[in-house]
């Protein structure tokens, strides 16, 4: 048997996305007004180099080693998250948060990014180690704890966006592990209850519908009780919880519902991003030529709103190309997960899909007001060292899984 080659599709799509990202980042720096984005594409090039090395290294590490090391890695990332909560500093859009760790005054990284991968590995290890897919709530206590602990710590920083990513990973991996969709739906019901709790009538209707669903699906009695309790509890704590949110978080959620309500402050990002994208039309204003970006109307054009630059300068066509590349990446990753030699590898790769997808959907969605604004980077596009390296590691890992499955002679029968 001849030695397998690298997964050409994954390499092609990844490289295309990274180059697209770098080109967009370069454009983001081309403004008529000096902004912080001016030289970032240079530095991102350096991160690109480091990322390749990181991917190359992880590619040469056996999945067995990763499986073995994952509890340690997970514990370490939890430790870093705790450290960040104690001594962390804020940066960029999240000036007041505790998401960064610094040594000697230099910010060296965001532990939450590492925690995302560590959680994926830990979940993969836990789920692959079970005989059966989780069927009841009792079976889910482990996964809930594995994801819940870092998720709550990130939420405490506070970083709503990253917390959201943990939820994405949780649902994606449980689904891939074989948990029945109706169970996943039941798990999501407390959130639905929470959102509806702001309207008494809607919430009352929901509880009735929910009870009918429970009667129809007949889960375990114990689950029955827990789900109903959780839904009722969410209805009760919704308002106190809302009041405990930081004002900027409340504003973000409110302006998501109506950006025009506060166009100068909280709604500014949402409006300016949509104006930039909307003015792009079919073909955009031309690469590096976007006036809204050039004149600094577009905020955070190199980090959270980098995709708005694509929308303004390359138009709907450019957006479709970028989104198409992301979709292609996910479909390739799903294929790799399906053909993986073992359940740990498979779950890991699908966890990565969950991680990436949540990032992409949330980030791209918020630029057109489809999602509320949370400070969450776009993989391969947004400027930022730690997240770029995490992305590279994930891709390197996926390449290794693909390599292993080819090595074992997997054919798509």
């Amino acid at each position: 048997m001849r030695a397998p080659t690298l997964d050409r599709q994954l390499v092609t799509v990844s490289v295309a996305l990274v180059l697209f990202g770098l080109a967009t980042l370069y454009s983001a720096g081309q403004t008529d007004v000096p902004t912080r984005a001016a030289g970032v594409w240079h530095r991102q090039f350096i991160w690109f180099g480091i990322g390749i090395v990181a991917a190359w290294i992880i590619f040469h590490v056996s999945l067995r080693v990763l499986e073995w090391i994952s509890p340690t890695l997970y514990a370490f990332s939890i430790f870093l998250l705790a450290l960040a909560l104690l001594v962390g500093t804020g940066a960029g859009t999240a000036e007041g948060s505790h998401s960064w760790l610094s040594i000697g005054g230099h910010q060296i990284g965001q532990p939450s990014e590492l925690a995302k991968v560590a959680t994926v590995l830990m979940m993969a290890r836990y789920l692959s180690g079970r005989k059966e897919p989780p069927r009841s709530l009792r079976d889910l206590i482990g996964p809930v704890l594995i994801v819940g602990v870092p998720c709550l710590m990130v939420l405490k920083q506070p970083d709503l966006g990253s917390a959201f990513v943990f939820v994405g990973i949780f649902f994606a991996m449980l689904f891939w592990a074989g948990v029945r969709p109706r169970m996943l739906f039941l798990l999501a019901t407390p959130v639905i209850s929470l959102l509806l709790a702001f309207n008494t009538l809607a919430w009352s209707v929901w509880i009735i519908v929910f009870v009918l669903i429970l009667i129809a699906w007949r889960p375990y009695v114990w689950d029955w009780v827990v789900f109903l309790t959780a839904n009722l509890a969410m209805g009760a704590i919704a308002m106190p919880l809302w009041n405990r949110l930081a004002p900027y978080q409340q504003n973000r959620l409110l302006t998501f519902l109506n950006p025009e309500a506060d166009p100068r402050a909280a709604g500014y990002h949402a409006i300016q991003s949509r104006v930039a994208i909307g003015s792009g039309g079919w073909f955009g204003s031309g690469y590096t030529q976007g006036p809204q970006k050039r004149l600094a109307f577009l905020p955070e054009q190199h980090t959270d709103f980098v995709f708005s630059v694509v929308g303004e300068e390359l138009g709907f066509v450019g957006v479709l190309v970028a989104l198409g590349l992301f979709l292609a990446l996910f479909l390739v990753l799903v294929r790799i997960a399906r053909r993986a030699t073992d359940s740990f590898s498979s779950l890991t790769v699908f966890g990565i899909v969950g991680l990436f997808f949540t990032h992409v959907f949330e980030n791209v969605g918020m630029t057109v007001n489809l999602m509320p604004i949370t400070g969450i980077p776009l993989p391969m596009f947004s400027y930022g060292g730690s997240f770029f390296i995490i992305c590279s590691l994930c891709l390197g890992l996926a390449l290794r899984v693909a390599w292993d499955s080819r090595l074992s002679g997997y054919t798509d029968a």
Binding site: D32, V33, L127, S128, G129, R130, K131, E132, P133, F175, W176, A177, G178, P181, R274, V275, A276, I277, G278, S279, G280, G281, W282, P291, Q292, R294, L295, A296, F297, G311, G315, F316, V319, L320, L323, G324, F326, L327, F330, L331, V334, R335, A337, R338, S343, S346, F350, V353, F357, F361, V364, G365, V368, N369, L370, A413
Partner: protein, 628 residues
């Protein structure tokens, strides 16, 4: 782990694939909505985000005299404006501007006030900046964000002060003007005519503003001058050709005695104004680009009221020139003829009841016919003529002749003359039993009393005398009405009155101004002034037989009309005989005893110390000028 057999996994992969594709369709749909369906809306928002309109001032129409000489034109100038996102940042930039060019804190206050009226527009800093200022600012452009320097046509008045009241001046439209819609089509920042011809013909002269867009960044700072959006070119204003003779206008200014307040008007028998002069005056060029508040204050608080156009905005008792109106009324009514003598000869005064009304000449004129009485300006003759007419007739005919109406000259803010419409006026003013009809009649007969006229309105009457007996509306560009007021005199009577006026200059009160090469007809006058020395009048025309030009002058505190006569005569000579014929007016004329001996008006006539005449004797209703 169970559940990872290839069948189950493939099933889940299918679901995952569908979920992913669905999610991306949702995202694409959101972008399609934003970028394609709502594209126009966001495109507009994007442009209003970054494009700021800068109005382009159109060149104002030129104002020409009848020979094509320029009275007002445009020359290239520069305006300096600042774009600022907030008052604070504007103030900060202005503080920096101060380092390079002079700018006092009052000016800064003005600029900020103006900025507050329209924040999205560039704030005007200098409407007319000198080359030095522009060079200094350009040099430090990098330190002055939001600086907009724009080439703009600016107004130039080559005649300067000499045509000040005639041409008026321009300045930025005020908020009050806009609220009152005084200048249709003007917007904040428009330059409009504020007085004189500039005001009267503003609609024609102004043209339409153009607009260009400049690009600003998120902080409201200027980024690019020539922004993508199309520039709308301004429509230049239309020129106007006037009836004026700029040479004559300048000549009047050159001979006018320094420090004397007064006015002079020259017009043709068909109402075309050739010159219109008021003193003291101001330089309209100083208003271009915004007058400094110090100078504006000075112009407004100066007791000599330089902004007042004394041709149309000051009223004086018409005095002796009004005797011609009395004569015309009597002739028209057929009460007298040109050779009629009055029953009582002039012995230096006339008794009426228990009072004596004196003639200006103590020794008396003896017996005179109408021609002689006009030439000698004999008060006693006109007292008797007035009594013969009666007060009702004087009032009635005066109204018909236009002494109660504005002349209608095409200049804004002309004052209404004061002239009663009936005797009820006196009843109302003094009470029915507190005024004496005969005494009032005598006052009116010699142009005193409750009768004050503007120079332009008296000019209209004399233009009727000089022409064919019909007074037309005087005009500079075009007459405001075609109405003609007939004096109701036959050609013979007109000729007779003219002969009398010739006699005034030949051997009467103005004989000192006589020159043999041009026959001038005219009438002196001395208007009583309870506040100081009397005002002097002279209205004359030449050539006397076939008049080409009528010139009227008034000088405040001149004591006697004979002082004014030489200036009027010189103006006539200059116009009719040309520059060579003009003999320099003796500057000492005001002090010349030989000239000031004649035509002393009737002093003792005092009905009430605080009569309407006393109040009207000085220019009372000075229009309060508004901030330019």
């Amino acid at each position: 782990m169970n559940g990872f057999d290839s069948y189950r996994v493939r099933e889940r992969a299918e679901i995952a694939r569908m979920v992913l594709i669905a999610a991306f369709l949702v995202l694409s749909g959101a972008f399609f909505r934003t970028q394609i369906i709502q594209h126009d809306k966001f495109q507009l928002k994007a442009e209003t985000n970054r494009l700021r309109p800068i109005p382009l001032t159109p060149p104002r129409g030129t104002i020409l005299d009848r020979n094509g000489l320029v009275i007002a034109e445009n020359v290239p100038g520069y305006s300096v404006k600042l774009l600022a996102p907030s008052t604070d940042s504007l103030r900060a930039v202005l503080d920096r501007v101060r380092r390079y060019v002079p700018l006092d804190s009052a000016q800064i206050g003005d600029i900020i006030d103006r900025y507050k009226q329209a924040r999205y527009q560039a704030a005007l800093v200098f409407g007319d900046a000198s080359f030095d200022v522009i060079a200094n600012l350009e040099e430090h452009r990098s330190a002055l964000p939001g600086l907009v320097i724009q080439a703009e046509p600016k107004r130039l008045y080559p005649a300067g002060k000499s045509a000040a009241h005639l041409v008026g001046y321009v300045s930025e439209v005020t908020e009050a003007d806009l609220t009152a819609d005084r200048y249709p089509g003007a917007v904040l920042g428009s330059i409009v005519g504020k007085a004189g011809l500039e005001r009267e013909y503003d609609d024609t002269l102004r043209g339409n503003d153009g607009v260009r867009y400049i690009e600003v960044n998120a902080r409201g700072r200027l980024v690019r001058e020539g922004a993508a959006s199309a520039t709308l070119q301004p429509t230049p204003g239309k020129p106007i050709v006037t009836t004026l003779d700029l040479d004559l206008q300048r000549y009047i200014d050159s001979i006018w005695p320094a420090g004397v307040r007064g006015a002079m008007v020259a017009m043709t028998p068909n109402g075309e104004i050739r010159a219109l002069y008021s003193a003291p005056n101001f330089d309209p060029n100083h208003f271009v680009g915004g007058i400094s508040s110090a100078e504006w204050r000075k112009l407004n608080t100066d007791p000599a009221k330089p902004l007042l156009n004394r041709v149309i905005q000051a009223r004086y008792p018409p005095a002796s020139p009004f005797k011609l109106a009395i004569a015309a009324m009597a002739l028209k009514r057929g009460l007298i003829r040109l050779n009629t003598r009055m029953p009582e000869p002039c012995r230096g005064g006339m008794r009426l009841g228990n009072r004596v009304f004196r003639c200006w000449k103590r020794e008396g004129h003896g017996t005179l016919d109408l021609t002689g009485a006009v030439a000698a300006s004999c008060d006693v003759y006109f007292y008797q003529l007035g009594l013969k007419l009666g007060l009702d007739a004087i009032i009635q005919d005066g109204v018909l002749m236009g002494f109660r109406d504005k002349s209608g000259v095409d200049l804004e803010n002309e004052l209404n003359p004061i002239y009663p419409s009936s005797t009820a006026y006196f009843d109302k003013l003094y009470g029915p039993r507190y005024w004496s009809p005969p005494g009032t009649t005598l006052n009116f007969s010699i142009g005193q009393g409750e009768n004050t006229q503007t120079l332009i309105n008296m000019m209209r009457f004399y233009q009727g005398l000089a022409g064919n007996g019909e007074a037309v509306t005087p005009f500079i560009v075009k007459p405001s009405s075609n109405r003609k007021r007939s004096l109701g005199l036959t050609q013979q009577e007109l000729d007779g009155l003219r002969r009398a006026l010739i006699a005034v200059v030949e051997h009467g009160t103005a004989s000192a101004s006589r020159h043999s090469d041009l026959a001038v007809a005219g009438k002196t006058g001395t208007a009583q002034n309870p506040h100081g020395d009397d005002h002097g009048w002279f209205i004359g025309f030449a050539p006397a037989e076939k008049p080409e030009l009528i010139v009227g002058g008034i000088m405040e505190f001149a004591k006697h009309g004979t002082v004014v006569a030489p200036y009027v005569v010189q103006t006539l000579r200059r116009y009719i005989l040309g520059p060579e014929a003009a003999i320099p007016v003796k500057l000492g004329a005001l002090q010349d005893e030989s000239v000031t001996s004649a035509d002393n008006a009737a002093r003792p006539i005092e009905l009430n110390p605080d009569s309407a005449a006393a109040r009207a004797a000085v220019p009372d209703s000075v229009p309060q000028a508004t901030e330019p």
